[in-house]
């Protein structure tokens, strides 16, 4: 049969392809199978399985690691949408374990405690695709060079303060626009400044976009926050603590899904913003001492 000879798994196109299918959608953090079902019912395109949402990691402190495989298995078996899970930055063995659990995407995440302060995971070695955080274009391009198949702007997870998410998505997209305006002979210096390979810098300058899907994350707590990220140019949004730390998770999750689809329609946004109960309490990023800012993890 020709089937086996004519079947290539885990190619860059296949890895990036799943992220393409998630565009225009909301990926929600969940810590139990029940929460995963609520997220799926509310219209999540995927769920992120973890032990504690970022707001709790922040409150409880200590070292945050990959979740227990039993918890991830339970979430995988409870929903039909893709399941993502987080590994620590540089912790390639946690990533090997997550791949063996057959998660659909691994998030090499600054929300967990870093396992390597120099190197990120060599993501090309894996069959499963990776999403990584970035605060600027250079960081995003370095992650793509290491094999990331999807990028999310970092924001500041677990705060409910959208200001850092705004800053990071504006920075990444603004730097891409600036790159597109340069002549080709200026891109050598750009590559040096971005600390990214010249060929990748040239590709971004020519196409005016990243070669992978760009979501936004970190502090999105309301339908208006999600719609603003979409209007700024994100392909979709991650919502972490914002849903299950709010007064009425199911209603808020559904409202954020609607707002992400109708991000350009203020009438719809006004309607879906009504009667959602309390948003997560939140922390102003400005009040966070620098060592507690997660976005600064990643190199």
């Amino acid at each position: 049969m020709t089937e086996s000879s004519n079947k290539n798994t885990s190619t860059p196109l296949v890895k990036r392809g799943l992220a393409e299918m998630l565009k225009g959608g909301v990926i929600m953090d969940v810590v139990t199978a029940d929460q995963a079902k609520i997220a799926e019912d509310a219209g999540a395109v995927a769920v992120m399985a973890l032990e504690r949402v970022p707001a709790d990691i922040r409150a409880q402190g200590g070292v945050a690691r990959m979740s227990d495989p039993d918890l991830i298995d339970g979430i995988i078996s409870s929903v039909s949408i893709p399941v993502m899970a987080k590994a620590r930055i540089g912790h390639f063995v946690e990533a090997q374990i997550l791949q063996s659990l057959k998660v659909d995407y691994i998030d090499e995440s600054e929300v967990l405690s870093p396992a390597d302060y120099l190197n990120h995971i060599d993501k090309w070695k894996f069959d499963v695709p990776f999403v990584c955080g970035a605060t600027n274009l250079g960081e995003g391009l370095r992650r793509i060079t290491e094999g990331a198949a999807m990028i999310r702007s970092k924001g500041e997870a677990g705060t409910g303060d959208v200001s850092e998410a705004t800053k990071h998505i504006r920075t990444i997209l603004g730097e891409i626009r600036a790159l597109s305006a340069k002549s080709e002979d200026e891109l050598y210096v750009s590559a040096k400044e971005l600390q990214a390979p010249y060929e990748l810098v040239k590709e971004v300058a020519r196409t005016g976009k990243l070669p992978v899907v760009l979501f936004t994350a970190g502090g999105v707590a309301t339908p208006a926050d999600a719609a603003m990220m979409m209007q700024l140019g994100a392909d979709g949004v991650f919502v972490g603590s914002g849903i299950f730390k709010s007064g009425n998770p199911a209603a808020r999750a559904a409202a954020i899904v609607k707002a992400t689809t109708s991000f350009n329609d203020p009438d719809v946004l006004a309607q879906v913003s009504r009667g959602l109960g309390e948003a997560m309490v939140g922390i102003n990023v400005a009040d966070l001492p620098a060592p507690h800012r997660l976005a600064e993890r990643g190199w």
Binding site: E3, N6, V14, E20, K23, G43, V79, T261
Partner: protein, 197 residues
């Protein structure tokens, strides 16, 4: 001919619009029921079928679209779009519904999780071999007597047509293949669908 619509509730609708642009066909994004009367055919893109189902109800696209499908309007579904056109879904969520139209049973995530997604060459209708991507793809498990099979992968049915409905498991728009879209545009020309005011 009126433009082709691409259902833009969620998923890779921009890739479909780009594929249509490459073959010189005007495309518009469809998010509201009123938009449906401005087009001569509709593409339902890849995405998450549970989400497209939900959003089509929330934004009141579902009922008018089902009426159009039943009146012979040309619709082309890829991956999640194929699931939305199937009369019956296997391995769906308890509340999940499709628009229906194709007399088939479709199995969601039939190949497994993302690590089992792949690229491959498929013989499509009379177009010859096309290089496409299968991403957490469904397969057509059973077909009714009126359904024509247009492509198989191994023994699995991955492309079908019934009258003005075309459904495929895979993504030609991700690999940049235009042959399947050209096939659909010919269906739309042949149908020459007239909207009733």
């Amino acid at each position: 001919m009126l433009p082709i619509g691409v259902l833009a509730l969620q998923g890779d609708f921009r890739e479909h619009i780009e594929t249509l642009r490459v073959i010189g066909v005007q495309a518009i994004e469809i998010r509201k029921p009123d938009d449906l009367s401005k087009i001569s055919g509709l593409i339902i893109p890849g995405g998450e079928s549970t989400v497209i189902d939900k959003l089509s109800k929330i934004f009141s696209v579902r009922e008018p679209l089902i009426k159009l499908i039943q009146s012979g309007f040309p619709v082309f579904g890829t991956c999640a779009g194929l699931i939305m056109l199937a009369n019956k879904i296997i391995d769906g969520t308890p509340t999940q519904e499709s628009f229906g139209g194709l007399d088939i049973e479709v199995r969601r995530n039939a190949f497994g999780s993302q690590v089992d997604s792949f690229e491959a060459d498929v013989e499509f209708a009379d177009s010859g071999s096309v290089h496409v991507a299968f991403i957490r793809a469904p397969i057509v498990a059973t077909v009714g007597s009126e359904v024509e099979t247009l492509a198989k992968f191994g023994s699995d049915i991955v492309a079908v047509r019934q009258d003005n409905l075309l459904g495929i498991s895979f993504h030609p728009e991700v690999t940049g293949v235009t042959a399947v879209h050209e096939y659909f545009i010919q269906m739309c020309r042949d149908a020459n669908f007239q909207h009733h005011k």
